[in-house]
Symmetry: C2
Subunit: 334 residues, 2 copies
DNA sequence: GGCTAGACTGTAAGCGCTTACATGTGCACA
DNA sequence: TGTGCACATGTAAGCGCTTACAGTCTAGCC
């Protein structure tokens, strides 16, 4: 691979001039520029971005950390980030945290050691104070799907509480009063906030939260299955169930059907996230729309604006989810 | 951030010794090693991997290019790659090609300019000869889901033809003879090979391929919908339809149902890929299992073996898909 | 013609590491 | 005591760029 040195000798100019042409960083006469450009073309020169990065202390790459790579949720976020950054000729280095504290820290350290210009993190396990401290360092940090007051402007998050609220309210409006809830793991903030919204809606309608109608799942399909199985076993009557995400909703619907329940006639089901398969389920799942792609895009835009100083960009820190009403919910009729 | 220089002065040794401790590259007395290690710990030192990479011409990172980031298919492949590489403390830099020639080349050039030690590519648009030439360069290349005889040992691929074959054969065995086919874009190799397998099975059973029962889709849900709509419009009778992938199968099933057809009683449907939502559809989709995770893992393993010289690894270049029989297919009864 | 400002280009010192080579040390052996 | 050798450590030259600073050249002015 040709180096800048070879380009400079072929063009008959100095290294510095070649560098200037590459970076448009100073006045270079058109004639010189042409010489350099044609030398580059002749040699098929491409700058070594590692060397650029070392010399300039800027890598034009943004580090991303997500809990998982597979599954529709995070891949859609990634897609939003990548598309936005790619348009600005920046690139992504992706790491996985598995919602595990050590792995998250390890991943972040790796990204920092790669001189990333900024980090976009979807972390679950590390603590708020740790993140606040991290963000006080020299590498800008954006948090996605997490809200920390001390660094609010670095957070791109969903109003999960509102999501939980609208999900529940939609059922209340349909006349349901005995509403079960299969939550995500409560140590995850988003799962917890959704539950808070649920309770808020209940209390607005004067319905008492019945903790026997709640099951704490794991955000996976199997958690939904288990949850539904357990709820049915209690023998307590319920006409609707809200699930912390769509995966669990799918599991819950399966088990409900296996137990001879018709959806939505016997039990209405609401999910959360509106992932790609939500409209493939049977019946098609009513769910709370999580604008993952948009939020990924917004996180990337934050970086473009605050790190790469691109002008004219509006940042929206909080997204308000809406209910997507499909066929898995119906009015209470008895 | 502390540099190796600060570590060396604090430990009272030379730069070279610190480097040796980091890389276990030569004999260093235990006493010296301890001094260095504690100096590192005291300073919270982490090596700058950009500088390491420039000096050693090795980046410990593997470049990945996939057509898309969103959707279950590629994200599962990525997940397989990342997990395997992560275990070996290697990292991934991910780029997207959008099945567009220019973007694919651009992405590959970016990855090479980042000094990736190897590239794992899922490319659709660039030509075989171009890839052969690329792979003759100094950066090792692995192709995933593509088979080029001239570089067969660098290819990790699915026997797509066999997949198309088993899908069709399963229907033939159920008694179907009028079998429609909604293919992927025929310029994509995998789509084409699946079709070849389909025809092969037909001819084995003495059934003529009817090109009026074929529709060329785009691998997206909407392509499946369009395909089914068009097939129904022809008025030609068919009792089963095979789709080039699961997304199209989902679209096709929807349209079939909208037209009053029962699945599988009026029409059997088979998909391809077995993506995450295949068992969420109604009825649950019979499909050809594409071991995306395993293949991603295998591509990563190839790199571990051939680039990072990790011993004891078996490479399997071709994977043979199997049919997953679910509820969307049934015997022909008339 | 001599002078100066401003535009262009070159020189060289790093960025934080790795590594070939040189040097130093201690020990076994004759 | 001298020799040779293996092991431990240091020295310094890069890796391919960026960029502060210095130098050269031209045009415009008195």
């Amino acid at each position: 691979m040709a180096t800048i040195y070879e380009v400079s000798t072929l063009a008959g100019v100095s290294l510095a001039t070649v560098s200037r042409v590459m970076n448009n960083s100073a006045h270079v006469t058109d004639k010189t520029r042409q010489k350099v450009l044609s030398a580059m073309a002749e040699l098929g020169y491409r700058p070594n971005s590692i060397a650029q990065s070392l010399a300039s202390n800027r890598s034009n790459s943004v580090g991303i950390l997500v809990p998982e790579l597979h599954g529709p949720f995070f891949s859609t976020i990634l897609s939003g980030i990548e598309a936005e950054l790619r348009g600005a000729r920046k690139h992504v280095i992706i790491t996985v945290g598995h919602s595990d504290k050590e792995k998250e820290i390890d991943g972040i350290e790796f990204l920092m050691s790669r001189n990333c210009d900024a980090l976009i993190l979807h972390v679950d396990a590390v603590s708020d104070p740790w993140l606040v401290e991290l963000s006080a360092g020299s590498t800008p940090i954006v948090l996605i799907n997490r809200s920390i007051p001390a660094m609010a402007s670095n957070c791109i998050n969903l109003d999960n509480e509102h999501g939980g609220y609208v999900a529940t309210k939609s059922l209340l409006e349909l006349g349901h009063r005995d509403i079960a809830y299969i939550s995500g793991p409560q140590w995850k903030k988003d799962a917890n906030e959704r539950l808070v919204g649920h309770k808020k809606a209940l209390s607005e309608y004067g319905v008492r939260f019945n903790k026997n109608l709640m099951f704490e799942g794991d955000f996976h399909e199997s958690g939904g299955s288990k949850g539904m199985a357990q709820l049915l076993q209690t023998g307590i009557r319920f006409s609707a169930v809200i699930c912390g995400n769509d995966d669990m909703a799918a599991g819950a619907m399966d088990v409900a059907r296996e137990n001879g329940l018709a959806i939505p006639d016997d039990v209405s089901v609401v999910g959360f996230d509106n992932v790609n398969f939500a409209h493939f389920t049977y019946p098609k799942l009513s769910t709370v729309d999580y604008p993952m792609n948009d939020m990924g895009q917004m996180a990337a835009r934050w970086v473009l604006k605050n790190v790469y100083e691109q002008g004219g960009l509006e940042i929206q820190n909080t997204f308000r989810p809406e209910l997507i009403s499909r066929a898995s919910t119906g009015p209470l009729d008895r």
